[in-house]
């Protein structure tokens, strides 16, 4: 029993020899410590100060035939198209415009179609040609997107102009309506006086007035009807009502024209004329509402206002802070572990270990513990700086946060040790760690959302500890949620598999003499 405890005590001594040694080696490099803590903090601070959370403004030069109506319209409308368009003027020389684009004087050249009317009449869309000099695919996509937005705006303005015209025509109807209503009054008076011929004459005038109203209203209502139909106004649409009133009036009028006025049906006629008069009144009110609507509202009936149900709306610094911590800790753990066994090899100590009573397990536990401790201290200091100095929120529990950091460090150390065991030199280990960093930057969701990756590449992302770190730390810090135990479990499982692999290779390296 005493021998057992003695042997156990020696295991403890050997294991902690590595913890103490690694701690001493790290604290001998104060600049490294300072860089690891202050570096990311300063990067985030500067990023937060310098980040502009709005799309870039595009200096846009238009090309249109001088003296044309299109040129006039561009001069009039282009400066008001949107905040992201800085209007740089209109020129008739396309080559000169493209040259200015090449020189970087402008960001975008929009070439107007030479004869838009002819193209439309020929049943084709008139095309604005956009030129840019971007090589960044994201910026190039943004240019195309902005082009679409602006052309939608131009199209909307065309519709708006048509609507204004329709409303102006509807206003002209007021006279026709007045004349029609006067005719109804005359019909009614003639009916009450028993003067059938006068009544018929006025009724004929009323019919003519109704035809004119119907024709005049038709064009204006077409725009309104389409708009209402698109936005889903149902059967209670205003345009429908107007059309129905007109149909009703014309039906009444037609019925009355084909009916002989007798003593018995005189009151019926009068009632029908009353109904027409009432319809005309309602039509007048409806048209007044139509002409009173703002044209912008008719052509652009919908707008959006996004509202987050998240507890906080983090700024860019807060959003990126958990990702930076996850990426940095992974990189730190991978690098420090990757160089670890390579250094032992270079210093010649590995040869000593092979001959000594040291086991692979003791060495690994010692190294895991020391680097874990080191990573945890860095994580604690960095997280405190982010939270208390940069104001990054912490809506969840620090315990959950620490749990994720712990699992992230454990798994990342495993990757580092695997690299260290397959590398034969410092430079080789550094190359591998840089590849691991690049993979993490591109595929972990650090730069772009994982949704932008297609399968099976997206599945590959879940082999990177940073991916888990970003998702889990953001969820805890910015949403106040509990860590997804499935994700934590999978990350820990990857770490465990790596740990067993590292132990297996190390055993071959240290304990096995079968070489």
């Amino acid at each position: 029993m005493r021998n057992f405890f003695n042997a156990l005590w020696k295991v403890f001594i050997r294991t902690f020899a590595f913890v103490r040694k690694e701690v001493f080696l790290v604290i001998r490099q104060p600049r490294l410590l300072l860089t690891l803590v202050l570096g990311p903090f300063l990067i985030l601070l500067i990023f937060g100060l310098g980040y502009r959370n709005e799309p870039p403004i595009l200096r846009t030069l238009f090309v249109a035939q001088p003296g044309t109506q299109l040129e006039e319209q561009i001069q009039a409308y282009a400066p008001t198209l949107g905040a992201q368009l800085a209007f740089m003027g209109v020129t008739g020389d396309q080559n000169a415009a493209v040259q200015r684009l090449r020189q970087g004087d402008v960001d975008l050249v929009a070439v107007a179609p030479e004869d838009a009317a002819a193209a439309i009449q020929a049943g084709q869309q008139a095309e604005f040609q956009l030129y840019h000099a971007e090589i960044d695919p994201l910026q190039a996509s943004y240019m195309s997107y902005v082009g679409e937005i602006y052309i939608d705006e131009v199209n909307r303005r065309v519709l708006q102009a048509m609507t204004i015209q329709g409303q102006a025509q509807a206003e002209d109807l007021q006279q026709n309506l007045q004349a029609a209503r006067e005719s109804t009054q005359f019909v009614k008076q003639s009916l009450r006086a028993g003067n059938e011929s006068a009544a018929r004459q006025h009724f004929s005038e009323l019919s003519n007035n109704l035809d004119e109203v119907s024709m005049a209203v038709g064009a204006s209502l077409a725009v309104m009807n389409n708009v209402e139909e698109t936005v889903g106004g149902g059967t209670d649409r205003q345009a429908n009502k107007i059309m129905s009133l007109l149909d009703n009036m014309q039906a009444l009028s037609s019925e009355m024209e084909n009916t002989q006025m007798t003593d018995s049906n005189g009151s019926q006629w009068e009632a029908q004329v009353e109904e027409i008069d009432a319809d005309l009144g309602e039509l007048e009110a409806q048209l007044e509402t139509f002409t009173g609507l703002a044209p912008e509202l008719i052509v652009k009936p919908f707008t959006t206002r996004a509202q987050s149900i998240a507890e906080v709306q983090p700024n860019a610094t807060s959003f990126y802070a958990p990702a930076v911590i996850a990426l940095l800790l992974q990189h730190l753990a991978v690098t420090i572990a990757a160089l670890s066994i390579v250094h032992e090899r270079n210093f010649g100590t590995l040869e000593l270990f092979r001959v000594s009573p040291l086991s692979a397990g003791e060495m690994l536990v010692g190294k895991y513990l020391s680097y874990f401790l080191f990573g945890a201290v860095i994580a604690a200091v960095l997280s405190a700086l982010m939270h208390f100095v940069l104001g990054v929120p912490m809506l969840g529990h620090w315990v959950n946060y620490a749990l994720v950091i712990a699992v992230l460090l454990f798994t990342s150390l495993g990757i580092g040790f695997v690299i260290s065991l397959v590398s034969h030199s410092d430079s080789q280990a550094v190359q591998y760690t840089m590849i691991a960093l690049l993979v993490s930057v591109f595929f972990s969701g650090f730069l772009m959302s994982l949704n932008m990756l297609v399968e099976p590449v997206r599945s590959l992302s879940w082999g990177i500890p940073t991916t888990y770190g970003i998702v889990l730390l953001r969820s805890i810090a910015l949403r106040g949620g509990y860590p997804d135990l499935l994700l934590v479990g999978v990350l820990a499982m990857i770490g465990l598999v790596l740990c067993l692999l590292v132990w297996w290779i190390s055993r071959r390296l240290i304990a096995n003499t079968n070489r």
Binding site: R28, Q29, F347, E351, S356
Partner: protein, 323 residues
């Protein structure tokens, strides 16, 4: 090929039987059989690339022999238990220290690896005094001179007080004064009952050993005591005879005809003859008698101990001739 004429009978702490090591079909060490008695210094001498490090690695369990058998401390090194490993000290040829740790921290780490109790302060102090580094304990290893680093290596090898010590070229790159000091340390360790297996390129260091093994191109040429190595190299003891007058042809013939003289070679100045005799101790008085009888006047007669570099060359030459 183990020479039988080892002076003392002791228990062998190391024994090998025809061990060979091949790397990718290339033979690094071939059929080496040797033994090392307990409490001796065994010098393993050979030029660079002759197979010294490969052999020492097979003895420590770092390499497994391709063929043959190794017994160290009564066990096969590849199956050493932890307690057996604790009985061994190994100084590899490469650096084996952490440059950013102090002398004390490096030594403390080495002590921990061998499971020394935490109350080890006195032992560390003692071993640093032994290698004369006690004044440098706070210095980083990378601030030490090459010689000091090698002494720190030695201290780290000895810190757990091993009974069998393997030293792979401990004096390589060390100045002659310090080299001498190293050998003084080794002698002191031997006096304490330790067994040392030391490889070296410096053939002259064979003189400090109890037994010397000479290796060349992976083959063990000979194992013997230093004096017997000389004897084996030249076929007997060497005696230099310096005469006042030049020796004539007749005198030289007469010397060669003496029964205890194995050969005599006149040196270019003709006043000096180098004799190979069976045993200098007994044959020198007989030679003196013969000189007097002939009426020759001599300036001096002394046993000549050739430098081990020459001995090594002779042995390797002989080995080549025998082969």
């Amino acid at each position: 090929m183990i020479d039988e004429e080892i002076v003392e009978e002791k228990e062998n702490i190391i024994q090998t039987y025809d061990i060979s090591k091949q790397f990718n079909g290339t033979t690094a060490v071939e059929a080496v059989s040797l033994y090392v008695p307990q409490g001796t210094i065994f010098g393993f001498i050979g030029p660079s690339g002759s197979g010294k490090t490969t052999t020492i690695r097979m003895l420590t369990g770092y390499y497994q022999p391709t063929s043959g058998e190794v017994r160290v401390l009564g066990s096969s090194p590849e199956k050493f238990s932890r307690s057996e490993r604790e009985r061994i000290g190994y100084l590899p040829q490469s650096f084996g220290l952490y440059p950013n740790l102090t002398v004390w921290e490096n030594l403390n780490f080495a002590a921990s690896i061998y499971g020394l109790p935490i109350a080890r302060h006195e032992r560390l102090k003692e071993i640093l005094e032994f290698v004369e580094l006690d004044q440098e304990r706070g210095k980083l290893a990378n601030q030490l001179s090459g010689g000091m680093q090698r002494r720190l290596n030695l201290a780290a090898t000895l810190v757990h007080d091993p009974e069998l010590i393997f030293l792979d070229e401990p004096t390589a790159g060390v100045d002659p004064v310090l080299r001498r000091k190293f050998w003084d340390h080794f002698q002191a360790l031997k006096q304490q009952g330790r067994t040392l297996f030391v490889t070296t390129q410096y053939v002259a260091e064979a003189a400090y050993c109890d037994l010397v093994g000479v290796i060349d191109r992976g083959r063990l040429v000979i194992v013997n005591t230093p004096s017997m190595l000389r004897y084996r190299a030249y076929g007997g003891d060497l005696v230099d005879l310096h005469t006042v007058d030049p020796l004539g042809y007749d005198s030289l013939q007469a010397i060669n005809a003496l029964p205890f003289v194995l050969s005599a070679v006149q040196q270019p100045d003709q006043h000096h003859v180098r004799l190979v005799v069976k045993e200098a101790k007994t044959d020198m008085p007989a030679m003196l008698d013969w000189v007097r009888e002939r009426g020759l006047q001599i300036e001096a007669m002394e046993e000549y101990l050739p430098p081990f570099d020459d001995v090594f060359v002779e042995l390797v030459k002989k080995e080549a001739e025998d082969a």
